[in-house]
């Protein structure tokens, strides 16, 4: 195992008193001194900025780039165009497991920035080729109902980038790629900025009243928004269909990696389905806890935590297909049964 990689903003985080933790081969901020819950609520009520430089970037360009991505990924790039972003999956050829969930930034006609999860970058590059540019830039995710309003005071062009739009913009002489994407369920943008300007941009954004937030809040926010985390809701043995992400799969495309196996599952029917569970009380359910209906273990949680907005526990779990919303369940957390029920996701509606 190699030593941890560090963000170009590493010194800034330490200066702010962040608690640093290993994550996907990187050392990144878990939380700042105000703590995960305050950071979480800042994102729901106002605005936060995350350093997500650990996300991979693979630049794929040239005449064959579009076709390479079309053949590799499940979603249909022809539904969008240059200047747009698209969420997509890379499947295992043999069993249609989701090898990674990815955002593609279609930067220019024949230029794509493919953004895998940190630890999956090499695997994704193996499938699509391209050049890894992860270490050339930082990525700042500015999220929250007031994120764009605050960003507009310091980088108005970035604040004007719409949902799932991608623009190449100039910030004080530095070229940035800005996408209207995120992982919190809130409005906002993600800004790829060259390393040399990353610290200045971070300082500028925080000076506009945007609160720094770490991976702890990123996880509770994505969970409230019902968004999957690779390694939990997606990964080995888990298909797009089981995860309830069938909309990511473009069956109209004649070919994509893993199509045959996924088609077979579609025909046979999924054996399990990802669902939301709300539990009574503050005790957080966790990942890998059995879910019971009556005294029968029927499912397993993939993620769970305390919802800072709702004030009770929430979990995502694989359940038998067609389990009805409202079904009373219990989650077995280290021998204690947490009462709850199946609910629709997102747990927390978007602002």
């Amino acid at each position: 195992m190699s030593t941890a990689q560090h963000s170009p903003l590493d010194a800034v985080h330490r200066q702010l008193g962040a608690k640093m933790v290993p994550f996907g081969g990187w050392e990144m901020p878990l939380s700042y001194p105000i703590g995960t819950i305050e950071e979480h609520l800042s994102c729901r009520n106002d605005s936060v900025v995350f350093d997500v430089s650990h996300l991979g970037t693979v630049r794929v360009e040239g005449a064959g780039a579009f076709q390479r991505l079309q053949l590799a990924f499940t979603n249909d790039l022809s539904k969008v165009a240059a200047g747009r972003a698209q969420y997509t999956h890379l499947l295992d050829q043999t069993d249609a497991s989701v090898l990674d969930d990815i955002i593609v930034w279609w930067v220019d006609d024949e230029v794509f920035d493919v953004m895998p999860n940190a630890s999956n970058t090499d695997g994704v590059r193996g499938a699509i080729g391209g050049v890894e540019t992860t270490h050339d830039r930082a990525i700042l995710a500015v999220q929250g109902p007031r994120a764009k309003e605050r960003l507009a005071t310091v980088f108005p062009d970035a604040a004007a980038v719409g949902r799932f739009r991608v623009s190449t913009l100039n910030w004080e002489g530095t070229t940035c790629v800005v996408a209207g994407t995120g992982y919190t369920g809130e409005a906002g943008v993600e800004i790829a900025v060259p390393n040399a300007a990353a610290t200045d941009l971070w300082a500028t954004i925080t000076s506009a009243g945007v609160t720094p937030a770490g991976l702890g809040a990123r996880d509770t926010l994505r969970l409230e928004a019902g968004l999957p985390l690779h390694g939990h809701e997606l990964g080995a043995g888990i298909t797009s269909l089981q995860a309830g992400l069938g909309w990511v799969v473009a069956w109209s495309k004649p070919e994509f990696r893993g199509r045959t196996a996924l088609d077979a599952e579609r025909t046979a029917g999924i054996r399990r389905q990802l669902m939301g569970i709300a539990t009574d009380g503050r005790r957080p359910p966790r990942a890998d806890c059995p879910v019971l209906v009556g005294d029968q273990a029927v499912g397993m949680t993939t993620s769970g935590n305390f919802s800072p907005v709702l004030g009770h526990g929430i979990a995502l779990a694989f359940m038998p297909p067609h389990t009805e919303i409202g079904t009373e369940v219990a989650i077995d957390v280290r021998g204690s049964a947490l009462a709850g029920r199946v609910v629709a996701t997102p747990f927390v509606a978007k602002h």
Binding site: L30, T36, I37, G216, T220, R282
Partner: protein, 126 residues
């Protein structure tokens, strides 16, 4: 990281405030800092007997769950009911409003195995 001089400490990062044979228990500033935001405390039940070293409570943060070990043997005689709705007191006031329970000691010499503030400070300074 505060380590009040008048308290005793376990190696598992609990503090003990003695009043005669009664010991009030909580987790240290160091422990709450390491745990992160506390969202739930599984309080012990009044009347339960505990032996020093037993896990008798759980503290859950957004990050993880930690066992709390009884620093002394005895009977639980009080629990901090306010933690039911305000477990964040463990973060904001670990030595005050964040107290977890009180134990009536069955073996007061248990305290001889605890650290004083200087000893605990040395432990966390590693």
């Amino acid at each position: 990281m505060t380590v009040p001089a008048h308290l005793l400490y376990s190696r598992d990062h609990e503090w003990v405030a003695l009043e005669g044979t009664r010991a009030r228990i909580g987790i240290t500033d160091y422990a709450q800092e390491a745990l992160g935001d506390v969202v739930y405390v599984q309080a012990p039940v009044v009347g339960t007997t505990v032996a020093a070293g037993d896990s008798f409570s759980e503290v859950e943060s957004t990050k993880s769950v930690s066992d709390i070990y009884a620093p002394v043997s005895g009977t639980i005689v009080a629990v901090n009911e306010a933690l039911g709705t305000g477990p964040d007191a463990l973060n904001t006031d670990p030595y005050g409003k964040g107290w977890i329970c009180e134990i009536e000691m069955s073996n007061p010499s248990d305290v001889e195995g605890l650290l004083d503030a200087v000893g605990y400070q040395a432990l966390i300074d590693g």
